[in-house]
């Protein structure tokens, strides 16, 4: 069923965008996507599936496929980790800039 849906979606895109892609490329993309989704089942995202299912259900997302749940979980994890990484960079930059401004050689308190 999923492949048929993809097929219709592909056709829809073809009609919209003029079908510039070759059929081979399309199949490769689909194959890559399928393979990726399969590999998701091996990977356990930090965000549990039940949590994602609960909140997706709240917004009306209806899908019995676990791979999509994993995809959403991984996407959210990526988003949060990006935010956390940026925050860490900001934190470190703020610490280092304070030391530079005050030109203080003493060990500053690392707490913010």
């Amino acid at each position: 069923k999923r492949s048929s849906d993809e097929h219709t979606a592909r056709e829809r895109e073809m009609n919209q965008y003029g079908g510039q892609q070759s059929s081979d490329g399309r199949h490769d993309d689909d194959a890559a996507l399928t393979e990726f989704l399969a590999s998701l089942m091996d990977y356990t995202p930090t965000i549990p599936d039940e949590l994602v299912e609960h909140y997706l259900g709240k917004s009306g997302f209806q899908c019995p496929d676990v791979r999509l749940i994993r995809l959403v979980a991984v996407a959210t994890q990526k988003f949060i980790s990006e935010v956390a990484t940026e925050a860490l960079h900001h934190c470190k930059a703020r610490q280092s800039s304070v030391v530079k401004d005050k030109r203080d050689k003493q060990q500053k308190d690392k707490r913010l």
Partner: protein, 372 residues
């Protein structure tokens, strides 16, 4: 040098919004998951408000993906979401920040840059599973259905009662006196089931008032709201289930239209003492202080059957003064008042005489308004 310090200042004040009752568990899980991700990044501590804010952001992100994917699915005429719907939703959300290939309008969704980025992230990041194992939630309780006639093996009492309806409670239930949720007229199936279990176990439990009605005993004691754990057994007479009074059993006054001479003062059956003071203030002769002291001495005008209607005093220009003996009884309680006239017969006669006197005077002076 510590890697992280305290993470703060990102979104220091989360909105003061009370989440729904069942949300606490889910939000706690979201907080744990977010904290685990951040710990993986290198943070060492977390301020509570910052953690709540970031968990809220993650929850909103999930909800937004779901909403957008559902939107695209509905747009395509489907009710169930597709992987391509999800990818399109991710593209929409990522379009603000940008992803590789966002400007390419003719790309297929399967080879979207979003998916590529996610794939990179999966391959690079460590796998950190969630710390706890979770059950599927929300856990829904199975409703306990009461046994029907068929399952209980009972015969319904009449042909008009189908066998698939819940069985009637046993008549032994009315002998035990469990507590009941007062005021619950609509039968609750769970309570009926519980009540049947009570009979088997012999313990006290919550029982519905409908049991009483089904027991078809109007004078049966019905209980006020009680705590099932305490197992109270107070017995109160439910006035709605008490047997109807026969005629003449209790004195009930007949309604008499207010006499015309009393005028616009109105008829008040249950005027309290304060109102009488209010009436008295209009009178130039008596003051409110004397009024209460004179309550004992005076008689009121009343109807022939003894139940007083008029509560205010007549002025001293009149020869007879209203009686106030029953005012005290009135203030003490309506029931007492109603009972009092049944017992004090001699006062009744005196009141009757006074009432007749007043009526005579009213006939003589029809245009004389009551001076209060």
């Amino acid at each position: 040098m510590s890697d992280g310090g305290k993470e703060n200042g990102k979104d220091s004040e989360p909105k003061t919004r009370k989440p729904a009752g069942g949300e606490d568990f889910v939000r706690a899980i979201a907080k744990i998951a977010v904290a685990q991700i951040c710990e993986n990044e290198g943070f060492q501590s977390f301020q509570q408000s910052a953690l709540e804010a970031l968990a809220d952001v993650a929850v909103r992100y999930i909800k937004e993906i779901g909403k957008t994917a559902n939107l695209y699915a509905n747009l395509a005429g489907r009710s169930e979401c597709n992987v391509l719907d999800v990818i399109q939703g991710l593209e929409d959300l990522g379009s603000i920040q940008g992803f590789p290939g966002a400007s390419d309008i003719h790309h297929s969704l399967a080879s979207s840059g979003v998916v590529r980025e996610i794939r990179q992230h999966v391959s690079l990041a460590e796998e950190v599973p969630f710390a706890y194992s979770l059950p599927r939630f929300p856990v829904s309780k199975e409703p306990k259905l009461p046994p029907s006639f068929l399952t209980a093996g009972e015969e319904p009492l009449g042909e008009h009662i189908p066998v698939w309806l819940p069985a009637f409670p046993h008549p032994e239930t009315k002998s035990t006196v469990p507590t009941c949720n007062g005021g619950v007229i609509a039968g609750d199936a769970a309570r009926l089931q519980e009540q049947i279990k009570v009979q088997e176990r012999g313990e006290s439990s919550v029982m519905c008032m409908q049991q009483r009605l089904a027991a078809n005993n109007g004078s049966e004691a019905v209980f006020g709201p009680g705590d099932s754990s305490k197992g109270k057994r107070t017995v109160d007479i439910n006035p709605f289930l008490a047997p109807p009074l026969l005629y003449g059993e209790r004195e009930v006054s007949s309604i008499v239209p207010p006499p015309r001479f009393i005028g616009g003062a109105g008829v008040a059956n249950h005027v309290t003492g304060n109102m009488m003071e209010g009436f008295a203030l209009a009178s130039p002769i008596e003051d409110s202080q004397n009024m209460l002291s004179e309550v004992d001495e005076r008689n009121k005008s009343m109807k022939l059957d003894g139940r007083p209607i008029v509560r205010f005093k007549l002025s001293s220009a009149r020869k007879s003064l209203p009686a106030f003996k029953n005012v005290i009884a009135e203030n003490e309680g309506d029931e007492e008042l109603a009972c009092s006239f049944g017992t004090r017969d001699d006062e009744k006669d005196e009141m009757k005489r006074r009432a007749e006197q007043i009526l005579k005077e009213s006939m003589e002076n029809p245009s004389d308004p009551a001076q209060l």
